[in-house]
């Protein structure tokens, strides 16, 4: 054996096996996995029997229950409850089999790892995406077949049975869509869990993070089906469409996350069975102090600001642009909603700002009634400093609470919460602005009420939103060469840096301006 000393060169051999990755080819390769696994599932009586029972027996049980329940509530004049129970049971008939999809998904991934049969598969030319798609499909197909089969049997028994139920077709479509997206959410979630664990036991324990939210969603859907005012609408129930949309979004994010964590390196190299909190906190602390991409700690506060915070701001990149766009859309959207006749407020056309001006005058210590001939205001007793400081703290606390909540929720929603919670205020602002214009008021007072402190507060809130968005979303696609854990740790460090270095001082300054400056400016405009 000799030691090779030459440097590597990129190789393209003419006799290379062709592994072109068109979508069709990827799907074809993925289906090789799917076929084997589906066949394997159907050869396992522990999976086959529940499917048979849930497809052919459970729907009749549900139909029987629906008939008895409808008869019972009709005796008490509550026919509507009976009617609404029928689609609810249809959803349950569909949901029970898909709940199994998660069990299969957990078993398929972590089970293979446990049985050591994953490595031979990872040694084949299949790409990570092909393995991921193939296994995801294989976890979904048997339960969905059972679910659709069960729903068909249930619907058939209803349409042609004693109840002779004639539902809105769109409601059936909605329930089928809900069943499908729920299966997708559970499977894609289970893939993430099972690809990161080393035992079925650990995977099952972590799966509660999927089951509990799903159970809550199902309860919410049931509730909506019972109380929705548009339950009989030919367009379906609006709230259910919103849930379907939201679930599709979550599926998209989970797919991204799954595709990024489902790679050979993660599958064989990274495990979260042992959670090392000390190491996690040490990593976050390291990246909070870091001034460069290598994690070099800052030597002093000036360097931390000049290099570290600057680097974190640069890292926000696309998240900042998305946050700005969402804030603009929120404001414009609020304004646009306010233009719709049904949303317009009946504001008086002519109004006087004398009363609010007087109130503000008292707050800032100037009497509006006592302006002398030279235009100078006579001072009155203003609100004492401690009260103003309390006001300042209130502004800081209110903004801070929302931003902290958005950041925490963002972690569990892949960043979506950050784009809902904080911009929501700007929908209201846009709406009020629209009403002010419509009522013919001078909009100057709006600017006076917002801009004196808003020039600091708004950029700070946008930055905090962008940091929260990045922190939540980074898990769905870690930067190249980084694992999810590494990416998340660096993003957490960036978030803390921006939070401590810019957002907190910014909120304090904005709170000071809002309490001590804005009232003067607003007063001068209103009087």
């Amino acid at each position: 054996m000799t030691t090779a000393a030459s440097s590597p060169t990129s190789v393209t051999r003419s006799d290379a096996p062709i592994y072109d990755r068109t979508w069709l080819k990827t799907l074809r390769n993925a289906l090789i996995i799917t076929r084997r696994e589906v066949k394997d599932s159907f050869s396992d009586w522990r999976i086959l029997w529940p499917i048979v029972v849930l497809t052919f027996f459970f729907p009749f049980l549900a139909q029987f229950l629906a008939a008895r329940f409808t008869g019972f509530v009709t005796d008490f004049g509550a026919e509507i409850i009976g009617e609404r129970t029928i689609p609810f049971l249809l959803m349950i008939v569909g949901f029970f089999p898909i709940s199994m999809s998660m069990v299969i998904a957990l078993e398929t991934f972590v089970g293979e790892k446990e049985r050591r049969s994953l490595e031979p598969l990872l040694s084949t030319p299949l790409t990570n995406t092909e393995l991921y798609i193939g296994k995801t499909l294989s976890a979904m197909i048997p339960p969905l077949v059972s679910s659709y089969g069960g729903m068909t049997v249930y619907l058939g028994s209803l349409l042609f049975g004693d109840l002779a139920w004639r539902p809105q077709p769109m409601l059936i479509v909605q329930i089928i869509l809900l069943t499908t997206v729920q299966a997708l959410v559970m499977v894609t979630g289970a893939v993430v869990v099972s690809s990161q664990t080393t035992s079925t036991r650990a995977a099952n324990l972590l799966a509660s993070f999927i089951i509990i939210p799903m159970a809550l969603v199902i309860q919410g859907e049931s509730f909506i089906m019972f109380i929705a005012p548009d339950a009989e609408s030919p367009n379906g129930i609006g709230a259910l469409w919103a849930i379907i949309g939201g679930m599709i979004l979550i599926v998209g994010l989970l797919l991204r996350l799954g595709n990024s964590v489902f790679n050979r390196e993660e599958l064989l190299g990274r495990m979260i069975d042992n959670l090392n909190l000390k190491a996690i906190f040490a990593g976050i602390w390291r990246w909070t102090r870091a001034v460069d991409a290598k994690g070099t700690p800052a030597r002093n506060l000036v360097e931390w600001y000049r290099k570290g915070v600057k680097m974190s701001l640069r890292n926000l990149g696309a998240a900042s642009r998305i946050a700005i766009a969402v804030f603009v859309v929120a404001f414009v959207g609020g304004y646009a909603i306010g233009q719709l006749p049904q949303w317009q407020l009946p504001l008086p056309r002519d109004t006087s700002f004398q009363q609010p001006a007087e109130l503000l005058g008292r707050y800032v210590g100037i009497s509006a009634d006592a302006i002398n001939a030279d235009g100078e205001a006579n001072a009155v007793d203003s609100v004492p400093i401690p009260s103003r400081l309390r006001g300042m703290l209130f502004f800081i606390e209110t903004n801070g609470r929302i931003l902290i909540a958005a950041t925490i929720l963002s972690l569990f929603t892949f960043g979506v919460a950050a784009l809902i919670l904080t911009p929501a205020v700007y929908i209201v602002l846009g709406y009020i602005f629209g009403q002010v214009i419509l009522a013919g008021y001078n909009p100057a007072f709006m600017f006076a009420a917002i801009l004196p402190h808003g020039w600091v507060e708004i950029p700070v809130i946008v930055l905090a939103t962008a940091a929260a968005l990045r922190l939540g979303a980074i898990a769905t696609r870690p930067p190249k060469g980084m694992t999810v854990g590494m990416a998340w740790t660096t993003a957490m460090g960036d978030t803390l840096k921006i939070g401590l270095g810019i957002v907190l001082p910014g909120l304090i300054f904005a709170g000071f301006l809002e309490s001590f400056v804005t009232p003067y400016v607003l007063y001068s405009v209103l009087r």
Partner: protein, 316 residues
């Protein structure tokens, strides 16, 4: 066929493989020896493009493991430490699945599967579920899976560890045959006799580093010295030992035997025989004392341990 330079892998700061360099030409067998946890499996995983190196590079059959992972995996057959079979499947179904993954046509994969099953004496178990296979049979089937797509390079982790002597012989014969056809092998094994029999070159890996590499003779020469010769005579040696001191340096002696080392047996041995005959000593046998890979391996590890324990050594 297998080339690597400075190949390194770190996991969260722990260096599992440390700057490994290899060059195994086509048609050669490299045996990688080392204690458990030495970094052998991690090295194989990097050479299969399952794990990305932290630094360094490797090429398999001309393909870079980082830039051409699919081509690398198509070019290698891997026998993992655990056989990892799907136990509810039958062997034909199992091999058909892997054949399809490697894009073999239905006809080709069926023919190759049956040929290989026959070669390894598994035809009788075609209709059995893999869960019913014995440990050795499972290992042989895993080997069949690794060879199914006729790869240019085979990375075999403990290929005969669970096999009975006859099965192990079958596997060794197959390796020799395939080597003759130009296939390249990297074997990791604890079976030193097998490594000695099969390997053209040997690498000893410890704490992620290659601490010795070369042919068996090169390693033996370096770590246990010159070949040891043993001479047996009729009757007593008496004072003959002193008389031959100018020809060889005797290391051990008995009443009718002696042992000496020589770096050049072709020159030393005839001269020694000539001198002893001159003294009227009748030589019964003169033969080299067999040195085993086990002796060499243990010496290599011992020396590495001593180096590691030395306060002057700051390499670890």
């Amino acid at each position: 066929m297998i080339e690597a330079d400075g190949l390194t892998k770190e996991f969260d700061g722990f260096r599992a493989v440390d700057s490994i360099s290899l060059n195994v030409p086509a048609g050669k067998v490299l045996a990688v020896l080392g204690p458990n946890g030495a970094g052998k499996t991690t090295t194989v995983r990097m050479l299969t493009s399952i794990l990305a190196p932290t630094s360094g590079w490797a090429r398999i059959a001309g393909y870079d493991v980082v830039t051409h992972p699919e081509q690398v995996r198509a070019s290698v057959g891997v026998l993992t430490e655990q056989h990892g079979l799907y136990e509810r499947m039958k062997s034909v179904e199992y091999l058909d699945f892997f054949g399809e993954v490697y894009h073999l046509s239905r006809q080709v994969r069926r023919k190759r599967a049956l040929d290989l099953m026959e070669r390894f004496g598994l035809t009788f178990a075609l209709k059995k579920r893999l869960g019913e296979y014995s440990k050795g049979m499972k290992q042989k089937l895993a080997l069949v899976r690794a060879m199914l797509h006729d790869p240019a390079v085979l990375l075999l982790d403990e290929p005969t560890s669970a096999m009975d002597p006859q099965s192990a012989r079958q596997v060794r014969d197959a390796i020799v045959e395939l080597e003759g056809e130009g296939r390249t092998f990297l074997l990791t094994t604890h079976n030193l006799t097998e490594a000695e029999q099969l390997a053209d070159t040997i690498a000893v890996i410890r704490h992620g580093r290659i601490i010795a590499h070369g042919t068996f003779d090169e390693l033996a020469q370096r770590f246990v010295g010159d070949p040891l010769m043993e001479l047996r005579v009729r009757g007593q040696l008496n004072g003959a030992t002193k008389e031959i001191a100018d020809v060889v340096r005797v290391e051990e002696t008995g009443s009718d035997w002696l042992r000496y080392r020589t770096s050049d047996p072709a020159a030393t041995n005839p001269a020694l025989l000539h001198k002893l005959t001159g003294f009227g000593v009748d030589v019964i046998t003169l033969s080299p004392v067999q040195r085993t890979l086990e002796d060499v391996y243990l010496q290599i590890v011992k020396e590495d341990e001593q180096q590691g324990a030395s306060p002057d050594d700051d390499s670890r």
